[in-house]
């Protein structure tokens, strides 16, 4: 895949996601509500989870149901590159919007005399960005497997599973399950002291695994105009 083709797919996905009045409006509402909450509580409020669900939900599944994907795959496009481009597009959109919201919150708090330490702001930004790309990779995997916005339903369902069955599922397994579905990087805990190698390796492993599985799944997918 050439860089131009990758860039084209990313830009098309941004347009398709962010210029929809409903999605764009909801993103704005989420960001403004978090900024208001931050102003009231004096703490940074990270909007990344809701923004990622709004932006990344149905990233591939919607292309299947709308009939775009069979048409797109008539072109000489490597399928795994399509998955990669989708992940880059939704991940960067969610990350940028979340970081802009966090910076706006930090500026407002500073102007109100409730300034936060630089380290705290950096921690929040790193966590927000890694969460955006992490959850996007999980949603892209589910989106390859399910049509429409079913990926979000699967994600919510799998997240609630350990809460419902906490007496049956061993605690350590439930923790790993949650970490798999919500990959993020806590910078303060990673750099320590003591520094944690598990945190970054676990995060990168989840992202790489989800993208690899998504690429395998889309390679095996048979598409027709009646796919949806």
């Amino acid at each position: 895949m050439t860089f131009a083709a990758l860039r084209g797919l990313v830009v098309v996905t941004w347009r398709e996601r962010l210029l929809k009045p409903l999605v764009g409006g909801l993103c704005l509402v989420v960001a403004l509500s978090q900024i208001t909450t931050a102003r009231l509580t004096g703490e940074l409020q990270d909007p990344v989870l809701l923004l990622t669900l709004l932006i990344a939900g149905g990233s591939v599944g919607r292309d299947v149901t709308s009939g775009v994907l069979p048409l797109l795959f008539t072109r000489p496009l490597v399928r795994s590159h399509y998955v990669f481009a989708k992940w880059i597009a939704v991940g960067t959109a969610a990350a940028v919007l979340s970081v802009v919201t966090l910076v706006a919150e930090a500026v407002l708090l500073a102007r109100a005399g409730q300034g936060l330490a630089g380290g705290e702001i950096v921690d929040a930004i790193v966590k927000s960005m890694t969460t955006a790309f992490g959850i996007s990779s999980v949603l892209v995997l589910f989106s390859v497997l399910a049509s429409g916005f079913a990926d979000v339903l699967i994600w919510v369902g799998l997240n609630t599973l350990p809460l419902i069955a906490h007496k049956v599922i061993p605690q350590r397994m439930a923790e790993e399950w949650q970490a798999f579905l919500n990959p993020s990087l806590d910078w303060a805990a990673t750099v320590g002291p003591p520094a944690s190698l598990f945190q970054p390796v676990s995060y990168l492993s989840t992202v790489a695994l989800c993208l690899a599985l998504a690429a395998i799944a889309i390679n095996r997918k048979e598409l027709s105009y009646a796919s949806g």
Binding site: M1, T2, V78, G119, K127, E175, A189, A208, A215, N219
Partner: protein, 170 residues
């Protein structure tokens, strides 16, 4: 890189698969290593039983830090690993507070009374009781930095009460 037209559109992402496999092995190895390291770091915070805490606080003049947690609660265990097994954080807690852990598994009457008194309805919850004024509380675990910030705030004196509005208007 070959142009797209010269290779299968269903080409297997070999590099990505190899990276994912290596990271998976690294994840397991790092998990085992850190679990062993944490096991050796347990016990850094001196936890008291809730029956003895009031006696000690009277002697030491320190506020009591209650940790309401459970072995089945994921965020509680993360807090244990990232805060209570951290030498710097444990030293701060031992120097500043009388630390009392009230585990969810403890079904004694004293533990139940403490939960009812502090209206505990979610885990983990940290309560700092300074013996005077309203106890300060933090529900949930939002990371080590946030928790340490909360603990440091609890050691600061209460802000002076606001002057009555009527006197300001005069």
């Amino acid at each position: 890189m070959l142009p797209d037209s010269a290779r299968s559109t269903r080409a297997r992402p070999t590099v990505l698969l190899a990276v994912a496999a290596i990271l998976l092995v690294g994840r397991v190895a790092a998990g085992v290593y850190e679990a062993r390291r944490q096991a050796s770091a347990r016990g850094l915070v001196t936890w008291r039983t809730h029956g003895s805490a009031e006696v000690i606080v009277a002697d030491a003049g320190k506020p009591i830090l209650y940790d309401f947690s459970a072995s089945w609660c994921g965020p509680c265990q993360r807090m244990e690993r990232e805060v209570f097994a951290n030498p710097e954080a444990a030293a701060l807690i031992n120097a500043t507070f009388v630390a009392v852990r009230v585990a969810d598994e403890d079904q004694s009457a004293a533990a139940a009374a403490l939960r009812a008194h502090h209206r505990i309805d979610s885990l983990p919850t940290l309560i700092v009781d300074r013996g005077k004024g309203e106890p300060r509380r933090m529900e949930g675990y939002a990371g080590r930095r946030q928790l340490l910030k909360f603990l440091k705030r609890t050691t600061e004196p209460d802000p002076p009460p606001e002057a009555p509005r009527s006197s300001l208007n005069q």
